[in-house]
């Protein structure tokens, strides 16, 4: 039964993530007054990439991308099976570190700049992610997601600051402007494609799929703020997830890319103000 669940999670998560990306592209196109691709375009893209000839700059760097995918899958399995939220964060971090190492391993200037920037992004958003996990623990008395979703009062009641803070750093995780300075998908930016510069074909497809998983993982966190034992909370949660995702698309289209200095400072400041104060208040009253 458990095996079956795991298989379903492994299969359905990227499909959901891919659909989300397709939606993103449709909405973005509409915002920019274009027709845009069909909803299923991300899947066509990935299929096309898989069929391409394998080209690479050295024998090592794609290895890290595959490892990264494995750990991101592990993260989504831990989360969706109701596991320990901190363990999930650590597994996700490991996945991201491996992805960064891939950029380094290519030994190419553009990839390296992308890797460095990705690393900086991680340093910027990581405190907030950890504090969010701790916030859930303080609100719901457990690190386990299976316990968090059994509560009667949704966590958002205790963690409003944490929620806003998390949405702020979500922009990093979803690779949206203004904080997409490590590997923007806009071709002509100053670092070409950042970490992904040297990847093509299957490897690039793997990166795309990894990102689909990551998007769902990010939204699971958003969902958790609204989850209760009541069945209606599922609908509320999903609606909020979609709204938040729409907000991110709006921000993506509304802002130019920021400098890394601003990204680091603002993310840390938001974490310090919203996350920490929320935690202090909560710990005082609970």
């Amino acid at each position: 039964m458990l095996i079956l669940k795991i298989i379903v999670i492994i299969l359905l998560t990227p499909i959901a993530g891919g659909l989300l990306t397709g939606m993103d592209r449709v909405i973005t196109a509409r915002m920019q007054g274009r027709q845009g691709p069909p909803l299923l375009q991300p899947f066509y893209d990935v299929l096309k990439l898989i069929q391409k000839e394998a080209i690479e700059v050295n024998l090592m760097h794609r290895f890290y991308v595959y490892l990264s995918l494995i750990f991101v899958i592990l993260t989504s399995v831990i989360l969706l099976l109701g596991g320990d939220i901190l363990l999930a964060v650590f597994a996700l971090t490991l996945g991201s570190v491996l992805f960064i190492l891939g950029g380094y391993a290519s030994n190419s200037p553009y990839s390296l700049i992308g890797s460095e920037r990705e690393l900086l992004q991680m340093m910027a958003y990581e405190p907030m992610v950890l504090l969010t996990g701790i916030g859930f623990y303080l609100a719901d008395k457990s690190f386990f997601i299976s316990d968090i979703i059994k509560n009667n009062i949704p966590a958002i009641v205790y963690l409003p600051g944490m929620f806003i803070g998390f949405v702020y750093i979500l922009t990093f995780k979803l690779r949206k402007s203004p904080f997409d300075f490590s590997m923007s998908h806009h071709g002509h930016q100053e670092i070409v494609q950042g970490i992904t510069t040297e990847y093509s074909g299957k490897d690039l497809a793997v990166i795309e799929i990894t990102h689909w998983y990551e998007q769902i993982i990010a939204l699971v966190f958003v969902f958790l703020f609204f989850a209760t034992s009541h069945i209606s909370s599922i609908i509320v949660g999903i609606i909020v997830c979609l709204l938040v995702y729409f907000l991110e698309i709006l921000i993506d289209n509304g802002f130019a890319r920021m400098k890394w200095n601003f990204a680091l400072k603002s993310a840390w400041l938001v974490t310090a103000v919203l996350g920490s104060v929320n935690l202090m208040v909560l710990s005082y009253f609970r």
Binding site: E53, A54, I55, E56, V57, N58, L59, M60, H61, Y64, L67, I70, F71, L74, I78, G83, D84, L86, L87, F90, A91, T93, L94, V97, I100, L101, G103, Y104, A105, S106, N107, S108, P109, Y110, S111, L112, S115, E116, L119, L120, M122, M123, A124, E126, P127, L130, L131, I134, L138, F143, V192, E198, L264, T271, A272, G275, S276, L279, M280, S283
Partner: protein, 636 residues
């Protein structure tokens, strides 16, 4: 003579032997055999006593005490003469106060105090003995190979290998004494011997820099020693006891907090917390084996060991809060300082200071969970940090540099070292490795005990840690696709200890549930008188071990497996200006230019001097506040 006495005295014998024997070959054999025997002895002691522990007193207690007093006088005399000659008068003052103070006390009031247990070997001292015995002796073996290369590379320094090796062994002996003594005067003596050893090791090269740094270390540690001495006299006069175990079972009333505060200050100096951290950062001028020893198995661990011992008295008391505050400042600010460093040894030094800060936070919070994390942190930090120091030492000899920026070329020279270094770094911060398990539990312990500040500090601190380790790892992997070009000689004395370290790091990660079940849980259960449990759920532990097993495949990336693959290899992207060799491109005037890739250091934000300055100011303020609270408590 029982095993424990042998354990303390045997390294001393090797120290004397290696000092006396000046012939390289014979001495190397003695050092190697001696170190191996110490490791073996450690294992024997562990097998024999770890289950039930042992406490006892010597019959010739008075004789030993007089012997120690004589040695104290000799050491004090040496320090006094040397410090006056070198015009380091602060050292003179410290030495001139503490030794007479202790001697006066021991010959008058202290003489009548009955001590039931001179030696206590429990689970905590057992773990410390294992770390000192195994990691310490591996470093001694490594030193044999390293020092040969060292003097080959540095002809300008006088060769004093005999002296160097003998001090290493003396250090081990003192550390064994330190963690096994329950008699505070003995503990204090060993404490001072380790200060002296570190002074001698840091000053090894006799350059001006080495000299001034060694005196800085001595000044700070003797200052801590003075606080320790005053604490002992205070305890003796007030409570009529000189046993550490009695001290920590006292009621935490205001008056008892005075010696606890003084001893905490001593511990903070030894484990290089702000504002006392400068000595450890300066200690890097010494040859690498001594840095490895100072940072992993000895010295700094003595400080955190003492704080863990004092933990029942700390907790929510003013002293406990002050120590936690200093730990927080140290952890956060020295992590930030590490970001700006490119010198491998400096990064290691800052990260040691930061990790000790974390251990200090855990120990001073003092709940069962927090102590669980603290002890585990000591174990993992000792093994991983020692591995990294040994690697950096060898890398420096292979590459002629220990700068992280140069380590992209490491694979050209030695793929093995590249891999070992990678494993060391992974051990420091990556997910299923030991340090992270401890950090995880630390996080849980902080939130359970409502130390919100510590929670926030650890959240930021881990993110920063991630940054500087990953970029170092990045440099290592960036060369992993290159073929090793030349075979460098890499003596067995260096290689073997490193390989054993790698095994220790990996095995201890798999074995941490066992360490918890057989050592930590029983120790904490006894200490608190209530059942301790492993703070991580079983399902999590299983997952962690699964992740670790998956990670073991990383080294595969260092092996060129894809030789028969049909992939087309192309040059890297250089905006179309490649010259064809992946290293140069055509510049604006058509000339060939080399592409240089460097890491980020963010020094305009986290300048290390500024971070240290801020950290020291905060720590001094906290200490002053601690004194005020203490006096306030006494006045009530």
């Amino acid at each position: 003579m029982n095993l424990i006495t042998t354990l303390i005295l045997f390294p001393l014998a090797i120290a004397i032997l290696s000092f006396v024997i000046r012939q390289d070959k014979i001495r190397n054999a003695i050092v190697t055999l001696g170190a191996a025997s110490i490791a073996l002895l450690t294992v024997l002691v562990t097998v024999r006593y770890f289950g039930d522990g042992i406490t006892y007193s010597y019959h010739q207690e008075e004789g030993i005490s007089y012997l120690i007093m004589c040695l104290e006088i000799i050491i004090a005399g040496y320090v006094l003469v040397k410090s006056i000659r070198d015009k380091k008068y602060l050292v003179t003052v410290f030495a001139a106060i503490q030794t007479p103070l202790i001697l006066w006390f021991e010959l008058s009031a202290g003489h009548h105090i009955q001590i039931v247990n001179q030696i206590v070997y429990d689970k905590l001292s057992g773990i410390m003995v294992l770390i000192i015995g195994i990691i310490g002796s591996l470093i001694c073996i490594y030193a044999v190979g390293y020092m040969k290369d060292y003097h080959h590379h540095h002809k300008e320094y006088a060769e004093r290998k005999s002296f160097f090796l003998s001090i290493l062994f003396l250090f081990l002996s003192a550390m064994f004494g330190l963690v096994l003594s329950n008699n505070l005067t003995w503990l204090y003596f060993c404490w001072e011997v380790t200060s002296l050893c570190s002074f001698l090791l840091i000053g090894y090269t006799r350059t001006e820099e080495a000299k001034s740094n060694s005196y800085r270390a001595l000044t700070i540690n003797l200052g801590g020693g003075l606080a320790f001495a005053v604490a002992i006299v205070f305890i003796g006069l007030h409570y009529d006891t000189l046993e550490l175990s009695t001290l920590i079972s006292l009621e935490p009333e205001a008056i008892a907090m005075v010696p606890v505060f003084l001893m905490s200050v001593a511990a903070l100096t030894k484990s290089a917390q702000f504002p006392f951290s400068s000595w450890l950062l300066g200690a890097m001028v010494a040859p690498t084996p001594s840095s490895a020893l100072l940072h992993s198995a000895t010295m700094v661990k003595a400080g955190v060991y003492l704080i863990i011992r004092l933990a029942p008295m700390l907790g929510d008391s003013p002293v406990g809060i002050a120590v936690t505050g200093i730990g927080c400042a140290t952890f956060l600010l020295s992590s930030l300082a590490a970001v700006t460093q490119s010198d491998g040894k400096k990064i290691l030094a800052y990260s040691t200071v930061a990790n000790l800060g974390l251990i200090v936070i855990c120990a001073s919070i003092g709940s069962q969970e927090a102590l669980w994390a603290a002890i585990l942190l000591i174990i993992f930090h000792a093994s991983a940090k020692s591995l990294m120091f040994l690697c950096v030492g060898s890398i420096e000899h292979q590459l002629g540099s220990r700068n992280v920026e140069d380590m992209g070329d490491l694979a050209l020279v030695s793929r093995k070292l590249n891999l070992f270094m990678f494993i060391g770094i992974a051990g420091m911060f990556l997910a299923p490795f030991g340090m992270l398990i401890s950090k995880w539990v630390a996080m849980k312990a902080f939130i359970d005990s409502r130390h919100i500040l510590a929670v926030i500090v650890i959240a930021y601190g881990s993110a920063i840690t991630l940054f500087y380790w990953t970029k170092w790892m990045g440099k290592l992997v960036s060369g992993s696709n290159r073929k090793q070009e030349k075979e460098h000689s890499f003596s067995l004395f260096e290689e073997l200890p490193i390989i054993i370290h790698v095994i220790i790091v990996i095995v201890s990660c798999f074995a941490f549930p066992l360490i918890s079940d057989y050592a930590l849980v029983p120790y904490l259960t006894e200490l608190f008188g209530k059942d301790a449990v492993i703070p991580i759920g079983t399902s999590d532990v299983n997952l962690m071990i699964m992740m670790l097993a998956m990670l073991i495949i990383i080294p595969i990336s260092f092996i060129p497996l894809y030789k028969g693959d049909k992939r087309r290899i192309v040059p890297i992207y250089m905006a179309g200006e490649n010259t064809g060799d992946n290293e140069t491109f055509y510049g604006g005037l058509g000339e060939k230019r080399k592409a240089e890739m460097r890491n980020w250091y963010l020094s305009e934000y986290f300048d290390s001097k500024k971070m240290l300055f801020i950290g020291n100011i905060i720590a001094i303020l906290i200490l002053v506040l601690g004194v005020i609270l203490l006096i306030g408590g006494l006045a009530q």
